[in-house]
């Protein structure tokens, strides 16, 4: 064994390179990316609409207006009723499970790709960073669209329930009236929805991606989907 050239260490890729690869991957996988993103959009749209709808209800009751549907007695002093809390929690769960599931699916069908990239010299960290970038972008754009759709839905529902009064008392900004429950306001809800969607997407994809990246390539490449 003459040629004992020591094996050097693999270099870390510059960030731009990762960014380029991840965007290219999103672009070519566009159809599939849309489906994954739609999962996020749906989850966040549901959550935001339920939440916003609830805030609209509170805001209008605060103002003393009556819903055309609910009688005053039913809802007036209740603020957030247990039913509403339950609804919000449910929608939160649906949203978390839905997003985690669509990200998990999206990563699982790419195990082979992860194994292949490692054969070509990718470091585990690079693989994780790639998924972080892709899912962060998907998460943010999906959640933003979802939050806007959700808000629109809640506004339409509010219009049906309260008519044009809705716009006079629209809970746009946070408020904490002395005699009522604290309100976040629609802007904050949209923001929270975006952040939540992005965090869930990033966790939902980079955790399985990290697990796949840790596997020896032979095992990662064995998985058939």
């Amino acid at each position: 064994m003459q040629q004992r050239t020591p094996i050097e260490e693999q270099i870390d890729l510059p960030f731009v390179e990762s960014l380029r690869i991840s965007f290219q991957s999103l672009k070519i996988r566009f159809g599939r990316s849309i489906i994954t993103t739609a999962g996020i959009t749906l989850g966040i749209a549901f959550l935001v609409s339920v939440w916003t709808n609830n805030e609209i209800g509170i805001a209008l009751q605060e103002s003393g207006r009556q819903s055309t549907i609910n009688t005053f007695e039913e809802t007036a002093e209740a603020g957030i009723s247990t039913k509403d809390i339950w609804l919000i929690i449910m929608s939160l769960i649906v949203c978390v499970v839905g997003i985690a599931n669509s990200m998990l699916m999206a990563v699982t069908e790419r195990f082979r790709e992860i194994g292949t990239m490692k054969c070509l010299g990718a470091l585990d960290g690079f693989v994780v960073r790639l998924f972080l970038l892709e899912s962060g972008f998907q998460g943010f754009s999906g959640a933003l669209i979802g939050a806007l759709i959700g808000t629109l839905g809640a506004v339409l529902l509010g219009l049906k329930d309260y008519g044009l009064d809705l716009f006079f008392y629209f809970p746009l900004l946070p408020a904490s009236p002395e005699d009522g429950p604290m309100q976040l306001g629609v802007i904050v809800i949209i923001l929270l929805g975006c952040i939540l969607g992005m965090i869930l997407a990033v966790i939902g994809s980079s955790f399985p991606a990290w697990r796949a990246a840790k596997l020896p390539p032979a095992e990662a490449m064995r998985t058939e989907v």
């Binding site: 094996i7 270099i11 292949t116 054969c119 010299g121 032979a218 095992e219 490449m221």
Partner: protein, 244 residues
């Protein structure tokens, strides 16, 4: 003394499935010389792919050691293993394993991106390699738009991107028809002769026999025998005769 590139010492690989332990490799000892064309042959399930994975650092042996260029692979850090896969070995698989989101050209440049080669250089190199494998006019096609033989050519070009000293091929012709398979074998053999690349190939394909310098027969996770080229040629005749 011959220049040994790959050496395995009592390599054992066990797969654990529930309470069962399957011993896929049961103590493999082989030495492969630089510049050799070696075929690993054996029935399905005999452990060829498992051994391929051990030699290519795609999986870790349960026991025993693999030395490449005299370096004990189990002593390498994660970053060194990545560099090893990137620079020293080119992998070719039965199912091509191209990244389907990247064009032929994009697949060939990826290992060079990992190696930190400049964009200009890697584009030139990718074009040169794709030309060499006969895909000069298909460079920007996605793998889905290529035939099996063309995909395997892309895989070969990609395997050569960082001038590896070893080509590991796991049944590279298994999904191809006879003629295309022959072309792929000739291409690999040409690299072996012209560039002195060591080729280690697992195969069922009898066409591989007459280009091999040695054939390692694997059975039940053990080396059954090792045949030299001169012993092989007679047998190819026999096998050919039997086939007709």
């Amino acid at each position: 003394m011959a220049d040994i590139v790959v050496k395995t010492e009592d390599v054992v690989k066990e797969y654990r499935m529930g309470s069962n332990i399957l011993r896929a490799l049961d103590g493999i000892n082989i030495e492969i010389n630089r510049g050799e064309y070696i075929s690993l042959m054996g029935p399905s399930g005999s452990g060829k792919s498992t051994l391929f994975n051990m030699i290519g650092a795609l999986d870790r042996p349960t026991e025993g050691r693999v030395y490449i260029d005299g370096q004990n692979m189990s002593q390498l850090s994660q970053k060194q293993i990545a560099a090893f896969r990137c620079h020293r070995v080119g992998y070719i698989f039965q199912s091509y394993n191209l990244l389907h989101v990247r064009s032929a050209h994009g697949n060939v440049t990826l290992p060079m991106i990992f190696a930190g080669i400049s964009e200009k250089q890697r584009n030139e190199k990718a074009e040169k390699l794709l030309d060499m494998v006969g895909l000069g006019d298909r460079m920007y096609h996605l793998p889905d738009e290529l035939s099996g033989g063309q995909r395997q050519r892309v895989a070969i070009a990609r395997a050569l991107a960082n001038d590896p000293s070893i080509i590991l091929a796991d049944e590279p012709t298994a999904n191809l028809d006879t003629i295309t398979g022959r072309e792929i074998i000739d291409l690999i053999k040409r690299l072996n002769l012209e560039q002195g690349v060591t080729v280690i190939s697992a195969t069922h394909d009898l066409k591989m026999l007459d280009v091999s310098d040695r054939i390692v027969d694997i059975r039940d996770g053990l080396v059954e025998r090792i045949r030299n080229r001169d012993e092989i040629e007679i047998e190819v005749g026999e096998v050919g005769g039997e086939g007709e």
